[in-house]
């Protein structure tokens, strides 16, 4: 049961890092937000499905937060997270009904197409979405208390860690449940599952909904932390980055996507002062991991054991 020490170690490391370097708080909150979305992508990868459109659910979660604040005057942080979670889950199930009928490249490209539809709509309907300028997201309140921005940022940091741990345990339980095992089995051999009488599309739809939910929660954290949402959040290269984060960290377990996200955000922040060839570094790192480290970065932290899901 390596998840408990992993979670404990992650919490201690993250909190200690922000005590040593307070400016890391923003970077790490954002990294965890992206890690949540990457975990969603990793769920689909477990079923052998690659989505290059998952940033759309990140964007849906973020815009749901922005709309709830602007149009309905909801400012409570928990209410915003709940609203974004419900909306992104609903969007995931709706889109999932269509895309789980497809596999492999067609699944990837349909997700891409739908995310580009969302991106175009967000960019074009200036009156509703603020167009390419995006929307401002105000400082949320916490359980009715109006706190200053700095306190809210710290609160969001700890809330994102809590969300990460909760999501980690939940997804781990899901992977170990019959539903989760069926998802891995889709990857291994779909037709055998059908012969066993297991509805493959149902299994995939649940996985898709769950992955959309995680991405949406990541999106709402990003929206509240950055204080701004942009159509670019749904652009296809951002979706590619989410898959990249998952694979870079390692998709064999729960920790990988978060390790990948934190690693990338840290490198991004540190490299920003030295060079602007950021994408080149990331692309090279991705190729290096795929070619030489099939288990991802987390393979360093957690030595491979017998029975690890590949």
């Amino acid at each position: 049961m390596p998840l408990l020490p992993l979670a404990g170690g992650a919490i201690i490391a993250l909190v200690a890092a922000t005590f040593a370097f307070p400016w890391l708080e923003f970077v790490l909150t954002l990294a965890i937000a992206k890690g949540l979305a990457a975990l969603g992508v990793a769920i689909l990868l477990r079923g052998g499905l690659i989505s290059i459109g998952h940033a759309m659910f990140f964007a849906i979660g973020a815009y749901a937060t922005a709309f709830a604040m602007r149009d309905f005057g909801i400012t409570d942080v928990f209410a915003l997270i709940l609203i974004s979670a419900v909306i992104s889950l609903a969007a995931g199930l709706l889109i999932g009904v269509y895309v789980v009928r497809y596999r492999a490249i067609f699944f990837a490209m349909l997700n891409l197409a739908i995310s580009m539809v969302l991106f175009s709509l967000l960019s074009k309907f200036y009156g509703v979405t603020g167009g390419t300028d995006g929307l401002r997201v105000g400082t949320p309140t916490v359980l009715g208390m109006v706190l200053e921005a700095k306190a809210v940022a710290t609160f969001l940091f700890y809330a994102s860690i809590a969300a990460m741990v909760l999501a980690g345990f939940a997804v781990n339980a899901y992977f170990k449940s019959p539903l989760g095992e069926a998802l891995s089995a889709v990857h291994t051999n779909e037709i055998r599952l059908e012969y066993l009488g297991i509805p493959v599309r149902g299994v995939l739809l649940i996985a898709y909904g769950l992955s959309a939910l995680l991405a949406g929660i990541g999106g709402t954290f990003a929206a509240m932390t950055i204080g701004h949402v942009l159509p670019d959040m749904a652009y296809w290269t951002d979706s590619g980055h989410l898959v990249l984060v998952a694979v870079l960290g390692g998709i064999s377990g729960i920790g990988g996507p978060f390790v990948g996200a934190v690693f990338l955000e840290l490198v991004h922040t540190l490299a920003a002062g030295v060079t602007d060839a950021w994408n080149m570094i990331v692309g090279t790192a991705l190729l290096g991991v795929i070619f030489f480290m099939p288990k991802g970065l987390i393979g360093f932290i957690r030595p491979a054991k017998k029975g690890d899901a590949a």
Partner: protein, 299 residues
């Protein structure tokens, strides 16, 4: 209505002609190598940057204007000869037979590297070089003035489509490509050097994308982000037509052009959405695209 629709249609078809060149290269590479190259759009923008640089040099050196036409094709050929074999030999070759997820990721990594390389080499400024458009001038048909260059683009794309079909059906190397597409293992058993065929097909795909990029410079110029934007459009066109089908890419490019004209006319704000909506609709009815065929499932 006629006076507004026809210019829109010419403009739409001229843009579709360029997207067709990218999509047909993508689909050709996919059919031969069985790799979906996410970095394919980068060859479009590299071709555009190469053409802009060469064209500006030709004009700057005071050479005759007609040489800019040569420079367009020459820059695409240079990109194909230099970039194509190198990338196929080093990166793409490694992904043969791997899962789609790995192929998409490796080529996405390549896309990120190529995008940054272009930004480092060419900066973030836009480039324009429109000598070819000026030299060709405009013609008036039925009281409406058209850019001759756009008409040439449409004819050129049609000619390239026919040429590609003839090349694959009637030349030795084309027939080798067709054989590898039909059955890779049997081709190898018959003594076809498949590695060489892969390299040629990939470089041909690069050439078509780079040519599309080169041809866009005289009418629209080149700026950062062009490769990423073109990539998704080419995906949509290739998917609508059926991945791996050359006729499919051609028909799909025309359909997308018509859809865009209609949306620009009736709902201009939905212009950018049209290609993807067409793709979603087509794949809903025909899951493998218009010309695609279902693959058998193996137990």
């Amino acid at each position: 209505m006629f006076e507004t629709i026809v210019p829109l249609l010419i403009d739409g078809l001229a843009n579709a002609a360029l997207i067709f060149l990218v999509a047909v290269g993508l689909t050709l590479v996919f059919s031969v190598l069985r790799v979906l190259n996410v970095a394919h759009g980068s060859f479009y923008s590299i071709g555009a940057y190469a053409a802009a640089s060469l064209g500006l040099w030709v004009v700057g050196a005071g050479l005759p204007g007609w040489l800019t036409f040569v420079s367009l094709v020459l820059s695409a050929a240079l990109v194909a000869v230099i970039v194509g074999p190198v990338i196929e030999r080093t990166l793409i070759r490694w992904t043969y037979g791997k899962s789609e997820a790995v192929q998409i990721l490796v080529t996405f990594g390549l896309f990120l590297i190529l995008e940054d390389l272009q930004r480092i080499v060419f900066g973030v400024d836009s480039f324009y070089e429109d000598t070819p458009v000026q030299l060709l001038g405009s013609i008036e048909i039925g009281g409406v003035v058209y850019l001759t260059y756009q008409l040439v683009l449409i004819l050129l794309a049609a000619a390239l489509f026919v040429g590609l079909k003839l090349f694959i059906g009637h030349t030795r190397i084309g027939k080798l490509i067709a054989a590898v597409v039909a059955d890779r293992e049997i081709s190898q058993a018959m003594g076809i050097n498949t590695n060489r065929v892969f390299m040629i097909a990939f470089s041909l795909g690069v050439f078509l994308a780079a040519l599309g990029g080169a041809l866009t410079v005289p009418q629209a110029g080149v700026s950062p982000g062009l490769g990423a934007d073109t990539m998704v459009l080419a995906f949509a066109v290739a998917a609508i037509g059926g991945l791996g089908k050359i006729e499919g890419a051609a028909v799909a490019a025309v359909i997308v052009a018509l859809a865009r004209v209609l949306t620009i006319y009736f709902a201009p704000e939905l212009d950018a959405v049209a290609p993807y909506l067409v793709m979603l609709l087509v794949l809903l009815v025909r899951p493998y695209g218009l010309f695609g065929s279902a693959t058998t499932r193996k137990i």
